[in-house]
């Protein structure tokens, strides 16, 4: 069963339109959603959760309409949404009355694991502690799908690593799935199985992460060399005073066709920069 199925989702604002977006996440996998600021990542997440009402399209989570799936979905947004005057034990008291499957013992296990004091006011927590509390809350009702919007933003590498390990443990169950939007592409390169790149409100790139990183490549060459390359063999190009670069979609095929040119592996960051700043072909 697919964890997420989005078909033809459109959300229109005065100055921005998201979509149409089609996206599928199979069970037991992590989908990394990348894109520049304002690309529509948070809007997409909000549409999936019913926080924002889309103009068109369908969202199915865990094979159900989102309204029915909410109890099985854990949510972490880009900020801690709990009131500063509450304590983790208050969060437990509130959410056990909200989620039918809330597991107070599991919540306390996560508090211990993340070294979060149960009786300390949230306003005294650091950002890392707040995000860990959000994650503990999202996991303690034993969800089957996690939707994480910039959940690792602003965290130090050690905390990010701990949280990514939690995610990997979570998707070891094939019934589970995670959609995580992040600017920190190194996290996604470590954890994600699939990548969707949202660019100006549209899915510009979507596929298996390993395949994307294996097939896409960066061509560094002279202007003359670039002029000799068929435009159809490149996705985008960047020209500067000192260098000329091209984003290649099929590295192996390109190397066979142009044996004299060198194509290097490319990172998700570099793909994003090509798409955003380069000349699309």
């Amino acid at each position: 069963m697919n964890s997420i199925e989005i078909r033809g989702l459109v959300k229109e604002y005065k100055d921005f339109t998201l979509g149409p977006v089609d996206l599928t996440l199979p069970g037991g996998a992590i989908l990394g959603l990348i894109g520049e600021n304002g690309a529509g990542k948070t809007t997409l997440m909000r549409c999936m959760l019913g926080v924002t009402v889309p103009n068109a399209g369908q969202v199915s989570l865990l094979g159900m309409p989102w309204e029915e799936a909410k109890a099985d979905v854990g949510v972490v947004m880009d900020d801690c949404f709990f009131y500063e005057q509450l304590r983790p034990k208050d969060v437990d008291s509130v959410l056990r009355r909200v989620y039918p499957t809330w597991d107070g013992g599991l919540f306390r296990e996560y508090l211990d694991k993340f070294a979060l004091p149960e009786k300390k006011l949230i306003k005294e927590f650091s950002r890392g502690m707040r995000m860990k509390l959000s994650l503990a809350s999202a996991l303690a009702h034993r969800p089957r799908l996690l939707l994480l919007d910039e959940a690792t933003a602003g965290l130090d590498p050690v905390v990010r690593d701990e949280i990514l390990d939690e995610f990997l443990g979570f998707v070891s169950d094939e019934d589970h799935g995670i959609l995580i939007s992040s600017h920190i592409t190194s996290d996604l390169e470590k954890a994600a199985d699939y990548i969707a790149y949202l660019h100006h409100g549209k899915i510009a790139l979507c596929g298996e992460k390993d395949r994307l990183l294996e097939t896409y490549g960066r061509l560094a060459c002279t202007r003359e060399d670039l002029a000799a390359v068929d435009r159809g063999d490149l996705v985008a190009v960047r020209r500067s005073q000192y260098a000329t670069e091209g984003l290649v979609k099929d590295r192996a095929a390109f190397a066979r066709k142009y044996p004299g040119l060198t194509v290097e592996p490319v990172s998700l960051d570099e793909i994003m920069v090509f798409m955003e700043k380069g000349e699309r072909l």
């Binding site: 019913g50 926080v51 909410k70 009131y83 005057q85 509450l86 009355r97």
Partner: protein, 221 residues
């Protein structure tokens, strides 16, 4: 839904503690005869009626609304939870007012107790009416803008009342036309006002709730 009501009260904990301290001071001053019981109970009715503003402001500060909408609680139930928080608060004030009236009855006699209860019922009823108006406005415009709209409308109504009363002789006209409060009449009048307050409380909050639901259902959070 009970989780959301509990959340409201847990967040209001500090505010309620400060109210409790003020209550103790006010009760002491009332017992000492500095001011009347009606003033104390009226004051707490107003404070209770203002609590929804505090709740909405806390929601806004914590950026709770998007998260709240992602919880497995429908938007109608989210609205219902806020209305129930209000009703619980007003109910607690009603109990306080009743206890005050009983205390006044035991110390100062029936007439004073009835006067105290009369003032309490009016304040309580007004608290419910004000919230019935303000809650849909908050859902539509947010707490801060709704507060401004509300105060403008409230002052406008007072202005209209003054404009209407001044040509008629203001307070003198009212004094002439109000019935004299004799013990047996007062008891009947207070009982009627009490029922009326409760009726207004329920009758106005019900359509207000449905209006709030309709607004909140379409709201982008």
């Amino acid at each position: 839904m009970t989780g959301l009501i509990l959340k409201d009260f847990l967040c209001l904990r500090k505010v309620l503690k400060s109210y409790l301290i003020v209550l103790v001071i006010y009760v002491a001053l009332t017992v000492a005869g500095v001011w009347s019981p009606a003033f104390t109970t009226g004051f707490f009715s107003v404070m209770a009626a203002m609590l929804p503003f505090t709740c909405f402001n806390m929601d806004y500060t914590a950026k709770w609304e998007p998260y709240g909408a992602a919880l497995p609680v429908s938007r109608n139930k989210t609205v219902a939870a806020r209305y129930l928080t209000l009703l619980i608060t007003l109910g607690a004030v009603a109990v306080l007012e009743l206890a005050t009236a009983v205390a006044v009855w035991l110390t100062d006699g029936l007439e004073a107790a009835l006067s105290s209860l009369l003032a309490s019922c009016l304040c309580l009823g007004m608290g419910a009416v004000l919230n019935a108006i303000i809650l849909p406005l908050i859902y539509r415009f947010g707490a801060e803008r709704a507060r401004i709209i509300f105060y403008a409308a409230f002052l406008g109504l007072i202005g209209l009342a003054v404009l209407w009363l001044v040509p008629l002789g203001g307070g003198e006209w009212l004094m002439e036309h109000l019935p004299p409060l004799e013990a047996e009449n007062a008891a009947a009048l207070i009982a009627a006002l009490l029922l009326l307050s409760v009726a207004v409380c329920f009758l106005l909050l019900i359509p207000s709730y449905f209006i709030s639901c309709a607004i909140y259902k379409k709201k982008e959070l």
